[in-house]
């Protein structure tokens, strides 16, 4: 594995661990952005400039849409119950397994680093998908899961073609656009929270009053 691909893989994992671990939704989106922006580079050979630009633009748009809804959120959301060291350990273990299992019995066309990162992202996505009760965390989990799918795909069948890169970027935009719409709708729904705030975390934040412990992030 080339050092560059290894470094890129680590960057993808670092972004994903940040996305699932931090309670601040803005930092979480930043982590997701890093992960989505770097993952198209985990391919051998590197994607052509135009398809790569499509993926990067798609990634930016994909994180920008939930950002529009989230940017004024002042409170923490329910992050992973395990904490970032545990998540990092889970990701590292999955990456090692993925590296060893590269190809799954067939001769792969892509780099082992993509399999390692893909499996690690899939593991990191499990907690928000299974235990995440709020829309935002579910969206983070979904984005990581689909990113894992694209990484595994690149590892198994090589660098995607230009049209596939374009469609993949549109898939991310559709998913995260759906998430943003869902979060926006959830804010307007009675007894629903867009970003379910855990009471103890909300109370930790300065300036919050008793009303802030209610499920709604914004009135």
């Amino acid at each position: 594995m080339s050092p560059l691909l290894a470094a890129l893989g680590l960057l993808v994992l670092a972004g994903a661990v940040l996305a699932v671990s931090v309670p601040d939704p803005r930092l979480s989106i930043l982590g997701l952005a890093v992960s989505l922006l770097v993952s198209p580079l985990l391919a051998d050979p590197f994607p052509a400039p135009l398809p790569l630009a499509a993926r990067l633009l798609g990634a930016i748009l994909a994180v920008w849409l939930p950002w529009l809804v989230l940017r004024d959120a002042e409170r923490a959301t329910a992050s992973t119950p395990f904490g970032w060291p545990a998540e990092a350990l889970f990701a590292a273990t999955a990456a090692v397994v993925g590296y060893e299992a590269h190809g799954l019995g067939l001769a792969p066309r892509g780099p082992a680093a993509a399999t390692a990162a893909g499996l690690a992202l899939a593991v990191l996505a499990v907690a928000p998908l299974v235990s995440g009760r709020d829309t935002f965390r579910l969206g983070i989990g979904l984005a990581l899961l689909v990113d894992a799918a694209t990484l595994l795909r690149a590892a198994l069948d090589g660098t995607p073609g230009p049209l596939e890169q374009l469609i993949t970027s549109l898939l991310f935009v559709a998913l995260m656009g759906g998430l943003a719409a869902l979060a926006s709708a959830a804010r307007g729904a009675p007894a629903v929270d867009a970003f379910r705030v855990e009471a103890h975390r909300a109370r930790d934040h300065a300036g919050t009053d008793a009303a802030s412990a209610s499920p709604s992030t914004r009135s």
């Binding site: 067939l106 795909r153 069948d157 073609g161 230009p162 049209l163 469609i167 998913l175 729904a189």
Partner: protein, 541 residues
């Protein structure tokens, strides 16, 4: 004409419609015009035409064209039904996207999926269309149940992606020919089948469909439960025929599991539908039941099952659109969706009664009708006796709940039930409207002079629409139901279009699969039509 306009126009108009989403009427108008244009483009598009993007070919097959045209037309019909009934079912009342606009998103996405020759392009496109369809799952007034249903929809899309994409990539073609372990082949097949089952909402994944039916806009149900999952299923069938169909003997256990899921859905779906007392739940469970045939199609590794599978899936989506439209029109006419409160509905609205009979006939058919033969072929290819007969009879059990609805419709109505006679056309009184009313009706600016004749016409048109909304909705439902019946009877050249093969006849997989009912067609001067998936260089068992 290449398929490019059929992809680009719906997507561009959908983007425009989403951007003006806060202006509900404008967004709805853009969506409806966009669907009309899409239908026209689909009819004008030449099957066999293709174009290339970065080395990937997008080719329009006759079946793909028919599916997209019928999809846009059904979306248009449902949107017009929504306009006719108004209220919560007004297509513009959905948030954040109106039904016609989201239907355009779905048609554009599925156009990419059904024209792409590479499954690694087709699957993400179909999944993306499904994620875009999420925008149709919000009612105008957000509710906790609605948000929860949309969360589930998102979750299903993500899980389907992680199951399907790596499995397809794994079998897409190793760089050095090797022998795939049969367990791995079975695992890949199982992953794809599970992803498709999740999206289709078959048993045991039906809870998602039921909750969605309770929370999503009623007119969006065909899009969410039928058109988008079936688009993914069609891509899955294409992939299966090109990749693993000839090797099914090496993963017979996985195949049997898919058959078990499909058969269980067929058997229990009818029972579940029978137990429901709400029109939308009846529609949802009927989808769950009939989606079982889709799983059977996925497990019928025989080339003779290709045409029945695609015929059935086309009938399925059109008929479920008509059924959902019927439930909305009936709810509007009688002010309730509880079956128990709908006694005598058929006496009050025979047009909807005819539509329901057409829906039932198109769903089940009779011996000799293409839809009946398609259902029988799918069961026959997947199962042996005695299970074959039992499951086929389970499929026919849908007649029971259609019969129940008809029986309730023929019963003596409660005195307070019904609003009148929705099928009767009422003529408006020809009175001149006020200047303000006319200006609004004809779209003229303030202070603009409008001739008296135009004022009368505008007033009469507005009044006629107001008085005849219910018959208009019933007529649209009938049109959808008759379209479904026409497709079920083999109209629109469904048979030849559905029988078109995805695998070139020279490929090992096709050669090993036996005689072929038809061969890929070629347009004059154009490339061969039909996906040219490269089969695995694996030994045939």
């Amino acid at each position: 004409m290449t398929p490019l306009p059929l992809i680009a126009v719906p997507l561009a108009l959908a983007a425009f419609g989403l951007l003006v989403g806060t202006r509900r009427r404008l967004a709805t108008a853009i969506g409806i015009v966009g669907l009309m244009v899409t239908v026209a483009l689909g009819i004008a598009a030449a099957p066999g035409s293709s174009f290339e993007v970065g080395g990937s070919v997008l080719a329009l097959t006759p079946f793909g064209r028919l599916f997209l045209v019928l999809g846009a037309a059904s979306g248009l019909g449902l949107s017009l039904i929504g306009l006719a009934v108004g209220g919560e079912d007004d297509p513009g009342a959905m948030r954040p996207g109106s039904l016609p606009v989201v239907t355009l998103v779905a048609v554009g996405g599925l156009a990419v999926a059904l024209t792409a020759q590479d499954p690694l392009v087709a699957f993400p496109a179909a999944l993306g269309a499904g994620a875009g369809g999420l925008l149709a799952s919000f009612r105008a007034t957000p509710s906790a149940a609605g948000v929860e249903a949309a969360r589930r929809e998102l979750r299903v899309a993500g899980v389907a992606a992680i199951l399907v994409l790596p499995a397809v990539a794994w079998l897409a073609g190793p760089s050095t020919p090797g022998v795939a372990p049969s367990a791995g082949l079975g695992l890949a097949y199982l992953a794809v089948a599970t992803g498709l089952a999740l999206r289709s909402g078959v048993f045991p994944f039906h809870a998602w469909a039921a909750r969605l039916a309770a929370a999503a806009p009623r007119l969006a149900l065909p899009l969410l439960l039928a058109w988008l999952p079936v688009g993914l299923l069609l891509v899955g069938l294409d992939w299966e025929r090109g990749s693993v169909a000839s090797l099914w003997a090496s993963f017979e256990a996985e195949r049997q599991l898919a058959i078990a899921v499909g058969a269980t859905s067929l058997m229990l779906g009818a029972l579940g539908t029978w137990l429901q007392d709400d029109l939308e739940q009846i529609v949802a469970y009927s989808v769950v039941q009939d989606a079982g045939f889709g799983l059977l199609a996925l497990a019928a590794f025989d080339l003779s099952g290709w045409e029945p599978a695609r015929t059935w899936l086309l009938v399925f989506v059109v008929v479920k659109s008509a059924f959902a439209g019927w439930s909305v029109a009936l709810r509007h006419a009688f002010g309730t969706g509880r079956v128990a409160d709908l006694r005598g509905w058929l006496r009050a609205s025979p047009l909807l009664g005819v539509a329901l009979v057409a829906i039932a006939l198109a769903t089940v058919g009779w011996p000799g009708l293409p839809v009946f033969e398609a259902r029988w072929a799918l069961v026959r290819l997947a199962l042996d006796d005695p299970f074959r007969s039992i499951v086929f009879l389970g499929g026919l059990a849908s007649l029971a709940y259609y019969g129940r609805l008809v029986a309730i419709g023929l019963a003596r109505p409660e005195p307070e039930t019904g609003r009148g006679a929705p099928w009767q056309l009422r003529l408006p009184a020809l009175r001149p409207s006020s200047a303000e009313e006319t200006r609004v009706a004809v779209g003229a600016g303030p202070g603009r002079f409008v001739p008296a004749g135009a004022r009368r016409l505008a007033a009469a048109t507005t009044e006629a629409w107001r008085l005849n909304r219910a018959p208009a909705a019933a007529a649209l439902v009938l049109a959808l139901a008759l379209t479904g019946l026409a497709v079920a009877a083999g109209g629109f050249d469904v048979g030849p279009a559905a029988g078109e093969l995805p695998i070139p006849s020279s490929s090992p997989a096709a050669a090993s699969a036996g005689p072929q009912p038809s061969s890929p067609t070629a347009s004059p001067g154009g490339p061969a039509v039909g996906p040219s998936f490269v089969p695995l260089p694996l030994p045939t068992p």
